[in-house]
Subunit: 340 residues, 2 copies
DNA sequence: CTGAAAGCGCTTACAG
DNA sequence: CTGAAAGCGCTTACAG
């Protein structure tokens, strides 16, 4: 049993009011004598106030939740770190929720989090996120999105980082001379997927190429398995010379398929990913990818959330406005003689 | 403002005692009429009790913390999932803490978690863990270790999964004909590292080979960077034909170094990892590794913790007693003519 | 300069 | 069958 404020008061020979004041730095009208005596006792008893009891009064739990589909997607690891580091900086702890993209699970989480008096929720890649954005669902807790928050929306023409990212990726391949480029991303229900597709199409159009609808594909997931299984048949007979992937895991799957099909990367086929997860550089060949600065994504979303929770402006955003192309070894110059 | 028990009581025309009883299923002595009336109001108002207030009474927050060095180490992702899934199954939420292996951070976390009335802590790969095991530190909260808990200790002769794992890995290389085998793991302060080294040495001894102290190495971290930077000079001039790595990331670094040194894997040199992280199969060549069932590790540790918290036996452990060798493409038969 | 008292949303032992 | 009251550990407006 940890010490309580009552015990400290008794040991110090003062009232709990006095102890509380000292604890909260509202001791301007107390005598130095009292203050130092009480502080000594607090020290001695290794006392720390119960956040729980404080929260009962203040209705502030100093708890933020982070809800994502699955930690096992490496995209999220840095987001989580950014989120946790930021939360801690401002005195919040992080509750962690994996929803597996199951709407029911997501809704249950929200309810359970509310009953915990959570102060706010950072959401990423969820069904619920889509519902909220489409006004089909209202959360009565402060919340914020990792992608698609105010920092991520670049301007009126660029919808989001995903949009910008796949534009940049496609443009890079176009500059290498590729013309027939595939695009594969996750399920179409996600804004990420839609924005990515738009970015890809815009890049083509800006080069005067009409996007071939058959070249773009929504996979069943943002996973390497989906990339491998669903892209294998496509890659087997494709006339294209390159592929833009909605995330790196999909690219991993594509690379595996290409290897098995004996299509040499980057000599015969170019691959570009998105997210720039940590293992990319250890692949052989190293995966060229678009880096959205995942850590900053998590940090900025959390700052935005805390601004909402505390209803004040915190100027502690990262400088994270743009997506960065990280060139490794999976993209090569288009060689006309290689095809057809 | 969510509804409170008081509001429900008023709307139902009963006392809050009655509502509380219904909420907690202690309604055996209440009239059906009252019960259904109150339940209807609860439904109608979308009321859920405040866990906070409940906890003030019960001293049970239904909150578990998971503290690890860094989510960005892919080893932990599945551990986290196992931990969260298990926690949720038993009604707990998961608070997430990254300590970066900084003892001060770890100690601060523990303090902050205690002031949150956390019910227990799952610890993994921490400085604090070592201190606790060496009786240099006492936690006055229930806790449990991911590695080194009762399920992980295989028997008196096998210290832990790490020990077992590197034994198995080394044995596999020996069976392929390798004799001069390197071992590289993380910092020596970790039990993981020490146990791994012992397993490696035991395997050699069991084959009648005296371990060469120069062949084993503690790196500065369990990271690919450490693996690459610190193993590069060693691999450049080594007479060995294989390496056992303390985890997969170290192996990733070693593979990168070998590639740059133009040493062909597995033809000229064999590499084996540990943890079997998800991306192993997408490497080229695919990394052979030892799979400790990370999800089960997280799950079992959490079960053990909940048993401590609730002071009862929960027979819900996974069947996870042994480490599994996952053979891919980085280990080959020792070719005598290649070396000498 | 200091403290008594009310209240945050619950639960539970007890009385009727 | 139902409810008044005490108490969990705090904070704060107010009185002295």
């Amino acid at each position: 049993m940890p010490a309580t404020i009552k015990k400290i008061a008794q040991l110090s020979g003062v009232s709990i009011t006095t102890v509380s004041k000292i604890l909260n730095g509202k001791d301007h009208d107390l005598s130095q004598n009292t203050i130092s005596r009480v502080k000594a006792i607090i020290e001695q008893e290794n006392y720390y106030p119960s956040i729980l009891a404080q929260s009962m009064r203040n209705a502030q739990m100093k708890l933020i939740a982070l809800m994502i589909p699955d930690v096992r997607n490496p995209f999220f690891t840095d987001v989580i770190r950014g989120c946790e580091d930021c939360a801690n900086k401002y005195g919040y702890s992080l509750v962690f929720c994996n929803s597996d993209n199951i709407l029911e699970k997501e809704v249950n989480y929200v309810r359970s989090l509310q009953s915990r008096h959570i102060d706010g929720i950072v959401l990423s890649g969820l069904q619920i996120e889509r519902k909220i954005k489409n006004n089909q669902l209202k959360l009565n807790v402060p919340y914020c999105f990792v992608t698609g928050n105010k920092k991520n929306y670049i301007n009126e023409t660029k919808l989001s980082l995903n949009n910008e990212g796949s534009y940049v990726a496609t443009q890079y391949l176009l500059d290498l001379g590729h013309k027939d480029i595939l695009f594969a991303t996750g399920p179409s229900v996600y804004n990420h997927s839609q924005h990515g597709l738009l970015g890809y199409q815009e890049a083509l159009k800006d080069k005067g190429i009409h996007p071939n609808p058959k070249n773009s594909l929504f996979l069943t997931g943002f996973t390497a398995e989906a990339g491998y299984n669903e892209l294998f048949p496509l890659l087997k007979n494709t006339k294209a010379s390159a592929i833009v992937c909605g995330n790196d895991l999909i690219a991993y799957g594509a690379l595996k398929a290409l290897r098995e099909l004996n299509i040499s990367v980057p000599h015969d086929f170019s691959v570009i990913g998105y997210d720039d997860i940590d293992t990319n550089q250890y692949l052989n060949p190293g995966l060229t990818s678009v880096n959205p600065n995942r850590y900053a994504l998590g940090w900025d979303a959390t700052i935005e959330l805390i601004e909402k929770i505390e209803n004040r402006s915190i100027d502690d955003y990262t400088e994270n406005s743009f997506v960065k192309l990280v060139i490794r070894e999976t993209c090569g110059v288009f060689k006309h003689e290689d095809k057809n």
